[in-house]
Amino acid sequence: MNDTTLRPAESSAGRSAAAFFVRYGLVIALVVMELGFAIVEPLVLSPGNLLNVLQQTTYIAVFAAAQMVVILTRGFDLSLGTCVSSVSVASALVMTSMVAADPGNLPSALAMGILTGLGLGVAVGLFNGFCISVLNVNAFVTTLGSFNICFGIATTISDGRPVFDVPKEFSELMYSGTILGVPAPVIIAVAVLAALHLLLNGTVFGRSLYIIGGNPRAATLAGLPSRRYLVLAYVLCSVLAAVGALMLTARTGSGEPNLGGNVTLQSIAAAVIGGVSLRGGVGSTYAAVLGAVFVTALSNCMGLARIDGYIQQIILGCVIIAAIFVDRLRTGAR
């Protein structure tokens, strides 16, 4: 661990400059990036494009926030992407089959579809949380396993094909609809993220996640119910992923067994870039959102600048590693 109090050579001015960059570095990088790409492609800064970026951000922000919850506890969730796929397929199947059976009862079909999706999220989270917290299997192995399980569920129940004919009303509810001109995904994302923020900062459960991630043994000595809270953290993560999955399903208008392909990596990338520490105990909803904005803006800029898709992958990979490096500098890892 680095300890600034032990480095007399470091002036307080230097330290506050460093603190400034730690705090606002990403915002500065974001602005510089936008302006830089704008020279190559002025469209980057057009209002239409910026609005587009914000709309896309809503999805990644929800996934990044989900991932952040478990990263806070020194874990992570590799199964997030395929959990998204399975929720998408399962909820779409429930809705289409209920509508097919009783076209008149649309509201209960939508409600059942949403509940199925969220319920599946709870189940995946309970499974991950139980294995990690109670059976003490590490997060990497557990969620790699459930990654496969969820992938298997998604492809089996859908026969590997998209589930079409999801009711239009569902898409209106969670995608194309607006309230006072604000698109539904933005409203849902803002509501979910605000609730998460309150949960993390205003409850004993939220506080405990930070302490468990900061030092699990200290949490035990302080009498915190670490095991229970750890299970709940994974449940929360998967439920948030399920919310994002429902939003994406509404956008595509079908249940997609491959919906979550890139989501795991994107969510971890956004969280880490935003400043959520892989060492646990450090991070916030704000950080997850900021990271999501950055990741979305980066791929949007690269797309408009007509950078080849595979090159984009390389750049995103480098950015993730750079972000982890910055995190190590920040937490002063040895």
Partner: protein
């Protein structure tokens, strides 16, 4: 050889800091050719940091490192091995799924035409093992071996190269009598060949048996280097435990009241504590003294619910405790302060405020059910910080930024965050400076006046002797004495440590 008498390794002014701890403070150390030099000291005295510096694991912050007459800079573990410095650590560096001979040649495999020359390696392995007189099968997988046998593999591995300096960290901890004898014969042989050996051990008997010279470390400082045949066991322990002339202990008025904690015949599953009874009363400090590894720390940890209990009973306020877990104990009014604050006490990345309040989040003063009361929390923690004279008196910086003394205050602050009557202090002043030590002692005094019972577990003998009203002495997992009044003195405690030594050696 003319080298024989000369200096092999010379360290001057070695200083190494870790966050909040000065692990080595201006330490000088000299090792001659053909010498066995024992490092002696309590846990945390700096022994392992020193051998890690010598073997290239840590770089010193300051100081000169001269090996065979040449100054060495930027030492790495690999460079150290190439130079002939071979460490054998307590934690093994073996690959369990590989055989003994594969492990021996790990990283320096012999090859012929790029293919591994397995036969040559196996032959060399057999030869070395035979030379050592170890009972080892080179074709066995290391994972299937006992700890003692793994230890032998480690030693054989260290000797495979051209060793000039061998480091043995508690090598006999897992060896049987016969194996130990073989190891000592080996040490004699190496000594005759001019190899310098640094030997870390707590065991009095073997230290006197193998050592030429002994260097005693305490709190990261070199206390003394003495010739082994000119010092008695008692003198050694005194050097190790130390007479702190620089700390003045406050006068404490003990007013023993009712028994708050009563432990009877406690035995732990791990065997670290066997049939131990003791009690603590309100208004007095009850000291528990003992050598490192005697079980005194495990004893109080068990009371707080951190070690599984095999038998015996614990009563609090005359009620027998039925479920041992930290939350239940906190609610009952017992708080344990761990010796290793970084590992167990603190979430370094989190603010002071959260670190102080984390053991009280079940109380209505800090949270209404699940909902945190952040204003009340801030006010309460600020008050505690002021009482403990935290400097600076801010509660929002991350704990990782604080010095050792302030970190300890944050941990102790937890005891003030709720109604605690029984305080279990485990090595409360390890790694903190003199000023902070005094403040910890003053805090104990305040707590006593408020009617608390304090249990003080410490390896620092002067601390226990000066602060306690009654002193229990633990030795080899058992309680061997309870001292009161004028009997609380150093010779009386030291006598307990050695009383059973001959009997145990004969067994």
């Amino acid at each position: 050889m003319s080298e024989q008498a000369g200096t092999l390794l010379e360290l001057t002014g070695i200083t190494k800091r870790f966050p909040g701890v000065l692990a080595l403070d201006d330490v000088d150390f000299e090792l001659r050719h053909g010498e066995v030099h024992v490092l002696f000291g309590e846990n945390g005295a700096g022994k392992s940091t020193l051998i890690n510096v010598i073997s290239g694991t840590f770089a010193q912050d300051k100081g000169r490192f001269v090996f065979r007459g040449e100054e060495v800079r930027h030492l790495t573990p690999h460079k150290a091995r190439v130079m002939g410095i071979s460490p054998v650590f307590q934690e093994f560096s073996l690959v369990p799924d590989m055989t003994v001979d594969e492990n021996l040649f790990l990283g320096r495999e012999r090859a012929r035409f790029t293919l591994l020359n397995k036969r040559a390696m196996r032959a060399t392995a057999r030869q070395i093992i035979a030379e050592l007189g170890f009972d080892l099968d080179p074709t066995r997988k290391v994972g299937t071996l006992s700890r003692a046998h793994q230890q032998m593999v480690e030693i054989a591995k260290a000797l495979l190269t051209d060793v000039k300096l061998l480091i043995l960290d508690e090598p006999t901890a897992s060896l049987t009598e016969a194996e130990t004898t073989k190891l000592f014969a080996l040490i004699d042989k190496l000594r005759a060949q001019g190899v310098g050996i640094i030997y870390v051990s707590h065991r009095m008997g073997e230290i006197k048996q193998v050592a030429d010279r002994i260097t005693v470390l305490r709190d990261g400082r070199k206390i003394a280097t003495v010739a082994a045949d000119s010092v008695s066991d008692t003198e050694l322990v005194e050097l190790m435990a130390g007479r702190k002339i620089d700390v003045l202990f406050p006068r404490i008025d003990h007013r023993p009241g009712e028994r708050l904690l009563d432990v009877r015949d406690l035995t732990l599953v791990s065997g670290a504590v066997r049939e131990v009874s003791f009690h603590a009363r309100a208004g007095e400090i009850t000291g528990i003294a003992g050598l490192v590894g005697c079980g005194k720390s495990e004893l109080v940890r068990a009371v707080f619910g951190l070690e599984p209990i095999a038998g015996g009973s614990v009563s609090l306020f005359d009620k027998e405790v039925s479920s041992f877990d930290p939350l239940a104990m906190l609610r009952a009014g017992v708080c344990y302060f761990p010796s290793d604050r970084v590992a167990e006490g603190l979430a370094l990345a989190r603010p002071i405020r959260e670190n102080v309040s984390m053991a009280a989040l079940d109380l209505p003063g800090f949270a209404r059910g699940q909902v945190l009361r952040r204003t009340e929390e801030r006010r309460a923690v600020q008050e505690i910080a002021d009482r403990l004279k935290l400097r600076p008196a801010q509660i929002e910086p991350a704990v990782g930024r604080l010095s050792g003394g302030n970190r300890q205050k944050v941990v102790l602050g937890r005891g003030l965050s709720r109604d605690i009557r029984v305080f279990l202090f485990d090595e409360p002043t390890v790694g903190i400076d003199v000023g902070a030590k005094l403040e910890v002692y003053e805090l104990m005094k305040v707590l006593l006046d408020l009617g608390a019972a304090i249990v003080l577990v410490s390896s620092e003998l002067p601390e226990v002797l000066n602060l306690s009203n009654r002193v229990y002495v633990m030795h080899r997992s058992r309680m061997v004495a309870e001292l009161t009044g004028a009997d609380i003195n150093e010779p009386a405690v030291l006598a307990c440590f050695f009383r059973e030594e001959p009997a145990a050696a004969a067994a």
